[in-house]
C-alpha cells in the first residue's frame, strides 16, 4: 500500500491545520494521526508515522512519542473488527467479566489477540463513559451497550456478514 493521502484527505489535513494558530501545526497531530490510522489499515506503521511527520513538518520522534502515549493508536496490526470491552468497576458490577470470557471462548482468542482470519481483535479497556449502559464495548466508531451473550452472538454474526458482502 502506498502511503499517501488522497487529494481530498490532504485538503482535510489543511483544514485541520487551519483550526490552530499560525505556526502551531503540531496541534493537528492527534486528528491527523486518527485520519492516518483510519486510512492506512487501522494501525500506525512506522512509515505511516514518518509520513505524518513530513506532512506536519515534525521530527519523526515527535510523532512516535505521541502515538505511543495514547491508547487509541494501534502500533501493531489489528483485526478488521476490534471489540474493546470495558472492564472498570461499574462495568464489572454489571457482569463484564462474563462477557469477556464469552467472547474469548466464542472467538477462541485471548485478550490482546486477533483471530486467524484477521477479522476480530479482542481488547479490554478502561471506562468508556457508558457505565449506566453496562456491560459495554466499543466497536469502531460506535458503542455497543447492555451486552448479553445473545447480543455478542448477533454482533459477531453481523460482522461476519458485513465482511462477507465486502469481499
Amino acid at each position: 500500500m502506498e502511503i499517501i493521502f488522497s487529494q481530498e484527505k490532504l485538503n482535510k489535513v489543511s483544514e485541520i491545520i487551519s483550526r490552530y494558530p499560525e505556526g502551531r501545526q503540531k496541534s493537528a497531530l492527534l486528528p491527523v494521526l486518527h485520519l492516518a490510522q483510519q486510512t492506512f489499515g487501522g494501525w500506525l506503521d512506522v512509515p505511516v508515522m514518518d509520513y505524518v511527520a513530513s506532512l506536519l513538518k515534525l521530527e519523526p520522534i515527535e510523532v512516535y512519542e505521541v502515538a505511543s502515549f495514547y491508547s487509541m493508536y494501534n502500533l501493531k496490526p489489528v483485526g478488521k473488527y476490534m471489540f474493546e470491552v470495558c472492564q472498570t468497576g461499574p462495568c464489572m458490577v454489571n457482569g463484564c467479566d462474563d462477557i469477556i470470557d464469552y467472547i474469548k471462548q466464542k472467538l477462541n482468542i485471548n485478550v490482546g489477540e486477533t483471530t486467524a482470519d484477521g477479522l476480530f481483535t479482542l481488547k479490554t479497556v478502561e471506562c468508556l463513559g457508558a457505565c449506566g449502559y453496562a456491560p459495554m464495548m466499543q466497536m469502531g466508531k460506535t458503542y455497543r451497550e447492555h451486552l448479553t451473550k445473545e447480543k455478542v452472538d448477533a454482533i459477531i454474526e453481523e460482522c461476519r456478514n458485513l465482511s462477507g458482502s465486502n469481499n
Binding site: 492527534l30 493508536y73 468497576g89 458490577v93 471506562c127 460506535t142
Partner: protein
C-alpha cells in the same frame, strides 16, 4: 420534582437539530449576552454561584475573572469534554442529545472571556458524538451564531472540535492543553496557571461541558435567579450519572435539595436496588471520591439526612464523608466485593498514570498488585497496612491530582471496610468463591421483604 434547566427540553422530538432547538427558545442567551459588556457577564456568572461541574467545584465566575488580559495576546476558551472518570457519563448525554446547549453556552462564554477561537477537547472514543458536535457547529455557523461579526456584534467566534485519543489524564486541564498542542498528555507544573499561560502560552480558561451549558440558563434568568435554585453554596442544578446496582441507571438533573435516600429509592430517580438486594455502599461522585458504606451514605455522622449537594456529601470530611465530584454515582449492592471493586479502580489509575512522578507511577502499580493479591487470597495481614502506607505516600506528593485520585478510593475502602480486607486475608479459599456480604454497614432502613 427537581427544577430542570439543562434537560427541560430533552424530550422534545428533534431537539438535537438547530431548527427545533431555536424554536424552543435556543440561542436567546447569546442575543442577550452580545448586548452586555463582557465584564457584566462574568459578574452574572459570579452572582449565580455556579461551581465547576468537572469535579473540583471551583467557582466559575471567579475563575473567569482571573484570566490575564495582556495587550495584543489572544485568549482561549477550552471546553473539557474528556469525560473519563469511571462512573461519569453525563457530558456525553448533553452533547449527544442536546449539542446546541453547549455551543450556545460556549459562544457567550467566549464573548465574556474574549476568545475568538474556542475548542472542545472531546475524548477520542466519543467519535460519533464529535460528529454530532461538528454538525451542530456547522448549523450554528450557517445561522450566524459563529464566524465573523456574529449577529452584527463585531465579535468573531469560531469553535473547533479536537478529538483526544484515549488517555484519562488528558481530563486534567494542563495535560489537556498539552494534548491540544499535539503532545503527550503530561500535566504541567503550576504555576503558571492556564489563566495566565495556557494553550500556546496564551491565557486560557478550561471548563467542563456541563459548566458551559449552565451559562445558558444563567444568562437567560440572571445570576441572582439562578442562585435561588438549590441550597447554600450548591446553587442551580447538577447532572448526576447513576450506575451500578440500581433499577434505573441513567442521567438525572437534580436541584440539589433532595436527599441521597430519595435519589436512590424514589422511582423518579434510581428506582431502588434490583432483585430485592440491600444497599451496601456507594461512590457518590466518580471513582476518585471516597466510597461510603450505606449507613454513612444515607445519614451523616452527625445523624442528619445526607443530601445530594456539595456541602452535605462532603460533610464529615474524608473521615465520614465523601464528595460531589463529577456527579458519577456508583451504587453497590450486598453482592459486591469491596476489595474487587477497589482493585479495578486501582488498575484503572495505574493504567492512566502518565508516569512523570515516581510516587504516582510506582505507587499505583504497587497498589494494584497488592489489591489483586488480597482479592485472590494471596496476601498477608501486613499487606493491608502496606497498602495504607503507599496511598499515604502518594497523596499530595505529585504534580497533578491524579495521584490523590488514585489514593483516595483505596484509603476510603480500607477506612470503612477494613474487616472485609481482613476477611480476605483470613479466608483465602472462601474469598474466591464467596462474598463477604454486608457486615455492620448495611442500609438500616430499607430492608427488602
Amino acid at each position: 420534582m427537581s427544577v430542570k434547566l439543562l434537560l427541560n427540553k430533552i424530550q422534545v422530538p428533534g431537539i438535537r437539530s438547530y431548527e427545533v432547538y431555536r424554536r424552543e427558545g435556543g440561542y436567546q442567551s447569546v442575543e442577550k449576552a452580545l448586548k452586555m459588556q463582557p465584564a457584566d457577564i462574568v459578574e452574572e456568572v459570579k452572582k449565580s454561584g455556579l461551581r465547576g461541574r468537572g469535579g473540583a467545584g471551583f467557582p466559575t465566575g471567579l475563575k473567569w475573572s482571573f484570566i490575564a488580559k495582556p495587550e495584543g495576546v489572544p485568549r482561549h476558551l477550552v471546553c473539557n469534554a474528556d469525560e473519563s472518570e469511571p462512573g461519569t457519563f453525563k457530558d456525553r448525554y448533553l452533547m449527544e442529545f442536546i449539542p446546541h446547549i453547549l455551543i450556545e453556552g460556549m459562544i457567550s462564554a467566549s464573548y465574556a472571556l474574549g476568545s475568538n477561537a474556542s475548542y472542545i477537547y472531546i475524548r477520542g472514543e466519543y467519535d460519533w458524538v464529535s460528529d454530532i458536535l461538528e454538525a451542530a457547529i456547522t448549523e450554528a455557523k450557517q445561522n450566524g451564531w459563529l464566524g465573523k461579526n456574529i449577529q452584527g456584534s463585531g465579535f468573531d467566534c469560531e469553535i473547533y472540535v479536537h478529538r483526544g485519543a484515549g488517555a484519562y489524564i488528558c481530563g486534567e486541564e494542563t495535560a489537556l492543553i498539552e494534548s491540544l498542542e499535539g503532545k503527550r498528555g503530561n500535566p504541567r507544573i503550576k504555576p503558571p496557571f492556564p489563566a495566565v499561560k495556557g494553550a500556546w502560552e496564551r491565557p486560557t480558561v478550561v471548563n467542563n461541558v456541563e459548566t458551559l451549558a449552565a451559562v445558558v440558563p444563567i444568562i437567560n434568568m440572571s445570576g441572582d435567579e439562578y442562585a435561588k435554585i438549590g441550597v447554600g453554596k450548591s446553587t442551580g442544578t447538577k447532572l448526576i450519572s447513576a450506575c451500578g446496582n440500581i433499577n434505573k441507571p441513567g442521567i438525572y438533573e437534580i436541584d440539589m435539595t433532595i436527599s441521597v435516600e430519595e435519589f436512590i429509592y424514589s422511582d423518579e430517580y434510581c428506582g431502588g436496588i434490583p432483585n430485592g438486594k440491600k444497599l451496601k455502599a456507594c461512590i457518590p461522585g466518580g471513582s476518585s471520591v471516597p466510597i461510603l458504606p450505606a449507613n454513612l451514605l444515607l445519614t451523616t455522622a452527625k445523624g442528619e439526612k445526607r443530601m445530594m449537594n456539595y456541602e452535605s456529601l462532603s460533610d464529615g470530611g474524608f473521615a465520614t464523608g465523601s464528595m460531589m465530584g463529577s456527579g458519577g454515582f456508583i451504587v453497590l449492592d450486598e453482592d459486591q466485593c469491596i476489595v474487587r471493586n477497589t482493585y479495578t479502580l486501582a488498575r484503572f489509575y495505574r493504567h492512566e498514570s502518565c508516569g512523570q512522578c515516581s510516587p504516582c507511577r510506582e505507587g499505583t502499580g504497587w497498589m494494584e498488585k497488592i489489591l489483586k493479591n488480597i482479592d485472590t487470597g494471596k496476601a498477608a495481614m501486613s499487606d493491608i497496612d502496606l497498602l495504607w502506607n503507599i496511598q499515604r505516600k502518594i497523596e499530595g506528593n505529585t504534580i497533578c491530582p491524579l495521584g490523590d485520585a488514585a489514593a483516595w478510593p483505596v484509603a476510603a475502602a480500607i477506612r470503612h471496610f477494613r474487616d472485609e480486607f481482613e476477611w480476605h486475608v483470613l479466608n483465602p479459599e472462601k474469598c474466591l468463591k464467596e462474598n463477604y456480604g454486608l457486615a455492620h454497614y448495611a442500609d438500616p432502613v430499607h430492608v427488602p421483604v
